[in-house]
């Protein structure tokens, strides 16, 4: 027979691996460092790839500083909209989104969230497999048959992800604590080599040819770099809440996430990548790293960065598995089987790594444009309209008596605002053609779109939702059908 302690430990484990609220004394991330290193490792995986493209804004230094600004400006609203409610109630960000989108309407956020998490995980698997093959080809004189080896490596990466993720978030907290500091040290070594080889003056003025740049205007170039940063930070929306629901201290909700995910993991590593790419003349890290580091050191550094991407893949798949339990049938499966099902399409993609990089990445860039509307709505809903107070019980009910039922379980006003935010964003800036509106050079696109969505939702809530008595907003009559109990909680049936 199990003791009380064992039962509590098992229940906590089930909550952490599932959608149940995680209570304050069960939270895994108790120190500044644990959050810092997870966020650093998650950002660093992409940083050299993004950094290699920053010189495209016309001036490399403008690109580096603008990207830093964009990461900070993007992380703050994501932290407040997604991180704060998840931290307070220990809930998954999709459950948090139900307050604004409705208990059924949150499926929109779920689809965007799942496709982003799983899509980027598959992209990373493909990138790692192709990177290792490039490395092997460069290291040996012999010709290597690319496709079969890439498939084999991708399958091996999927197996590793499954083996690590099934052990829960504690394991990647430990992995991040080793990997992230090493990533920073390796980046520091690369910076020292760059400075030693080219000198600070030459390095500081390294730019790509004007004919290859998007613009020669520093103001517009800066706005492009800010946009890259904000868009990257906004794609953290499903990640942020997933991390803060496991965070114990309030002071760790924003600071370590911005410092780790924005400043160290993204801006610093991207800056070194940008300088190296501009100097060597290629955006591909697997090429410039070999040029700068030489055959031996360059190969070792590249191999380390490719392998360290496994931490990010594990984090993405873990968060996708938790979010996917919103689907009733999936919430009844064992954790191991659920992870297997999420990784199953990856076996097909392992045979088509080139297609994944070409098609999935283009699709993901358009998928990401919906985050602006979602974040704007959640920000104003949680901070302004609800004054940081949710009724957690009503997030877990599928009853019309629930506060967040709106119209048939869907808040159509929020859905319309998200839909309208997509063409507005694309009018400001098209992420595939880089075409921009006149106002883009001063404001960018993601931030004004988010603010417009927030303002539109605020206005429509006062005009449509509250007068209709929907949404359980302060002063509206929603939720009156549920019976209050002695503790003030409604006697409403809750279900996963």
């Amino acid at each position: 027979m199990q003791s009380n302690e064992q039962l509590h430990a098992n229940a906590a484990r089930e909550a952490i691996d599932g959608r149940m609220p995680v209570l304050s004394d069960e939270r895994l991330y108790t120190s500044y460092g644990s959050i810092l290193w997870i966020c650093t490792a998650n950002s660093a995986t992409w940083a050299f790839l993004i950094g290699g493209n920053l010189p495209i804004v016309g001036n490399t230094v403008v690109g580096m500083v603008g990207y830093l600004c964009g990461m900070i400006l993007g992380f703050v609203p994501v932290g407040l909209a997604s991180g704060l409610p998840s931290y307070r109630y220990g809930i998954d960000p999709i459950d948090g989104a139900k307050a604004a989108f409705g208990t059924k309407g949150a499926v929109i956020a779920l689809v965007i969230s799942l496709s982003t998490l799983v899509g980027w995980a598959y992209v990373l698997v493909a990138l790692t497999a192709r990177g290792v093959v490039s490395l092997a080809s460069a290291a040996s004189a012999a010709t290597i048959a690319d496709e079969p080896l890439q498939t084999l490596l991708a399958l091996f990466a999927l197996l590793m992800i499954w083996l690590i993720t099934r052990r829960g978030p504690a394991i990647f907290r430990r992995l991040s604590a080793y990997v992230a500091p090493l990533q920073l040290v390796v980046t520091g070594v690369l910076l020292v080599i760059l400075l030693h080889r080219y000198g600070p003056t030459v390095l500081w003025s390294s730019n790509i040819p004007a004919s290859l740049a998007l613009t020669q205007s520093h103001t517009l170039g800066f706005a492009y770099a800010v946009e890259f940063g904000v868009s990257n930070a906004f794609s953290w929306w499903p990640v942020m809440g997933g991390l803060t629901r496991l965070t114990r201290r309030r002071r760790h909700v924003l600071g370590p996430v911005i410092v780790g995910g924005g400043v160290l993991g993204a801006a610093f590593i991207s800056a070194v990548g940008a300088l190296a790419a501009a100097r060597v003349g290629t955006t591909d890290p697997s090429r410039w790293m070999l040029v700068i580091g030489g055959a031996r050191l360059g190969t070792a550094l590249l191999a380390f960065f490719l392998l360290s991407g496994i931490v990010t893949m594990v984090l993405l798949v873990y968060l996708a598995a938790v979010a996917s339990q919103q689907l009733r049938r999936l919430s009844r499966l064992s954790w191991d089987l659920l992870l297997f099902l999420i990784l199953l399409p990856g076996i097909y993609f392992a045979f088509r790594t080139a297609w994944v990089l070409r098609v999935v990445m283009t699709w993901l860039s358009y998928n990401g444009v919906m985050f602006e509307g979602i974040i704007g709505i959640l920000l104003v809903d949680y901070l302004v309209l609800r004054r940081q107070s949710l009724d957690a019980r009503h997030l877990f009910t599928r009853s019309p008596a629930g506060k967040y039922w709106y119209w048939g379980g869907v808040n159509w006003v929020a859905v319309m605002v998200v839909a309208a935010s997509v063409p507005i964003y694309l009018a400001f800036y098209n992420p595939t053609t880089y075409r921009v509106a006149a106002s883009f050079r001063y404001l960018g696109a993601a931030l004004p779109t988010m603010l417009l969505a927030a303002f539109a939702y605020l206005l429509l809530t006062y005009v449509c939702i509250r007068p209709a008595g929907k949404g359980g907003y302060l002063g509206s009559g929603a939720g009156a059908t549920s019976t209050p109990t002695r503790s003030g909680a409604s006697r409403i049936e809750v279900t996963l």
């Binding site: 149940m20 209570l23 279900t495």
Partner: protein, 57 residues
């Protein structure tokens, strides 16, 4: 009790625990004024950097 009923009963217990100590008295449920100030400080710093960089770079 079926597995589904067991899960829902566990959820019920957890939702109740959110309203009681130790969670209700933990940092999670306390005021977030300092956090909002921190957010404002980050935004102010980034905007200042943006404006400064456009004039000086």
């Amino acid at each position: 009790m079926s597995a589904e009923d067991q899960l829902n009963a566990d959820l019920e217990r957890r939702l109740r625990a959110l309203e009681e100590p130790p969670h209700a008295t933990s940092e999670c449920m306390q005021r977030t004024g300092l956090l909002l100030m921190e957010a404002l400080a980050w935004v102010t710093g980034a905007v200042t950097l943006w404006v400064t960089a456009v004039f000086w770079l």
